[in-house]
């Protein structure tokens, strides 16, 4: 967890992947130490919006010193980011959080699940995982951003809320429909999806590593804004509250109460 910094980074390129979903490559010294599942805080330039926006890292190119962020326009801050052009500079805080435990999945049948804007952080994981990976992606509709890229790293199944592609419903519906079995789960997505995965993993008796999101202020573990209830007394808070920005965002599902 060495060397968090707030630094200027340069926009390599940005394009819109789907409606309101943007794909941003940044050149930054922070890439050197990044691991999959970690995130950065991106600062708006507009000083009426002060706090860094926590955005998960979608891909890391250590050779070129770049990270890729795929985010959805959620409010004024992300709206501002969506207008960034090649060569623009933006301040980011990082690298933050713990990341996915890649080693835990080595040689196993792994089920990787991403729902909505929880799809992007799974990509770097899929790339790094030395496992028999089955990726299940959940989308709102037929705008299947990043899906083709996942096909390079494993078998891919899709669920859409409107049923336009793949299984109608969420990722767990697709898991059932396709009879997917696994020895380990990695997931990122909305809270109802993560709750369903936690339950499924407990029944199946397999570990599930899930990445949480929460409103954050500092991003570095000081403000205690982004906590999550844990099932055991943690070493930091002593009141069963883990900091999502620091002890997380990735937790073993059985360790947290969601």
């Amino acid at each position: 967890m060495a060397g968090k910094k707030k630094v200027f980074s340069k926009v390599v390129e940005q394009k819109e992947l789907a409606g309101g979903i943007f794909d941003l490559w940044l050149e930054t010294e922070l890439a050197a130490k990044a691991v999959c599942g970690q995130f950065v805080g991106v600062y708006p330039k507009d000083k009426s919006h002060l706090l860094p926006r926590p955005i998960s890292i979608c891909e890391i190119d250590q050779e070129k010193g770049r990270i890729r962020l795929v985010y959805r326009i959620q409010g004024e801050g992300t709206k501002e980011f969506s207008s960034l052009k090649t060569g623009d500079e933006i301040q980011i805080l990082g690298i933050l959080g713990n990341g996915f435990p890649v080693e835990a999945g080595k040689g196993k049948r792994a089920l990787l699940m991403g729902g909505g804007i929880g799809v992007p952080p799974i990509l770097q994981l899929a790339k790094e995982l030395e496992a028999e990976s089955h990726v299940v992606l959940g989308y709102r509709n037929e705008e299947l951003f990043l899906k083709e890229e996942f096909e390079n790293y494993g078998k891919v199944s899709v669920a859409t809320e409107d049923g336009s592609v793949g299984t109608k419903g969420n990722v767990m519906d697709a898991v059932k429909e396709n009879g997917i079995e696994a020895e380990i789960i990695y997931a990122c997505g909305p809270m109802p999806m993560l709750k369903a995965i936690k339950e499924y993993a407990a029944k199946a008796g397999i570990p599930a590593y899930i990445s949480l999101e929460e409103r954050m202020a500092c991003g570095v573990g000081a403000c205690l804004g982004c906590v999550c209830k844990t099932t055991k007394i943690d070493h930091h808070s002593h009141v069963d509250n883990a900091r999502i920005c620091t002890e997380g965002p990735v937790f073993l599902a059985e360790d947290i109460m969601i």
Binding site: L50, P52, A217, G221, N241
Partner: protein, 301 residues
């Protein structure tokens, strides 16, 4: 050499720049960004006699030019704090001020007494947190209650006592006088202003606690005004805070009457802010040919 030293109740600080309680933990998280030895003091996150779990999430929300928080004084309790946080802070050449919170007078006294035999330099008594239902702000919104708890704490405290005042009062001058009359060695202000944010699309409060304390640059003019009013009302030193993020902000508070200043929410915006304020004050003194920083305290009448 410009003299940045200040003195509060017999304690000398190498410079007037502190951290605002609750925004800096006990410094562990920010030592990656800032050399804690450069700071006048680290003011810790509030600590109670027993662990407090704090409020449900969401606990924070951004607002125009600032933020709301309703952490609810989550803390590990004084025993863990003394073993871990104080031990950590002892390795640095900076003053340590511990922020103390409680639900009852007895809660506060228990913490104050436990800290009596430690190397802690000063105590800051939190009677102004708007996010907990019992204690805290209940002591900070009425003169008689503030006077009473200040007296009780002064009887037991071995270190000088700073009473941290709430801006959510009708007359800050009266509150400052009450603290002074009861023997407080200093006061700090302002704590956060009670605020609210509603998500109009979900028709829900953004914070689980409904209300939260507002901080950040948007509250700075209110804080400067209150520091000025308190400075007119009392003779004890004032630690000023509320939206400070630059040396210019800090100097404004000092000219309004603050002996020291604290950087709060702006740590989240710029994790290097505290160190930059220290450096910026030195640069300002150089540029303006100010020999002693104490010369500017309350210089604007």
């Amino acid at each position: 050499m410009r003299d940045t030293k200040i003195n509060i109740a017999g304690v000398t600080f190498k410079n007037p720049v502190m951290t605002a309680s609750g925004t800096f933990g006990s410094g562990m998280e920010y030592q990656e960004f800032v050399d804690l030895n450069q700071l006048g003091a680290v003011v810790t996150k509030g600590v109670a006699n027993v662990p407090w779990p704090g409020n449900p999430t969401p606990r924070v929300a951004e607002v125009y030019g600032g933020m709301l928080n309703a952490i609810g004084l989550q803390n590990p309790g004084i025993d863990v704090f003394m073993e871990r946080d104080l031990e950590f802070l002892e390795q640095f050449d900076t003053r340590v001020i511990v922020n103390v919170c409680g639900k009852t007078v007895e809660d506060y006294l228990e913490v104050v007494e436990k800290l009596g035999d430690t190397k802690v330099d000063m105590l800051e008594i939190n009677v102004s947190c708007p996010n907990v239902k019992e204690g805290a702000i209940a002591f900070g919104q009425r003169c008689d209650a503030l006077e009473q708890i200040t007296r009780e704490i002064k009887k037991k405290a071995k270190q000088p006592v700073i009473m941290k005042l709430s801006p959510n009062v009708t007359d800050i001058g009266e509150m400052a006088k009450a603290a002074e009359a009861a023997g407080a060695d200093a006061i700090s202000l302002i704590n956060t202003l009670t605020g609210m944010k509603i998500d109009i699309y979900r028709q829900k409060f953004v914070l689980a606690n409904k209300t939260g304390g507002m901080s950040g640059p948007a509250i700075k003019p209110i804080a400067v005004r209150m520091v000025y009013q308190a400075a007119q009302a009392v003779k004890i030193p004032i630690i000023g805070m509320g939206g400070i993020g630059t040396a210019e902000d800090a100097i404004e508070f000092m000219m309004a009457g603050a002996t020291a200043v604290a950087v709060g929410a702006m740590n989240f915006v710029n994790p290097y802010a505290t160190a930059e304020v220290v450096k910026g004050i030195q640069d300002f003194m150089e540029q303006q040919k100010i020999d002693r920083i104490t010369d500017i305290i309350g210089c604007v009448k």
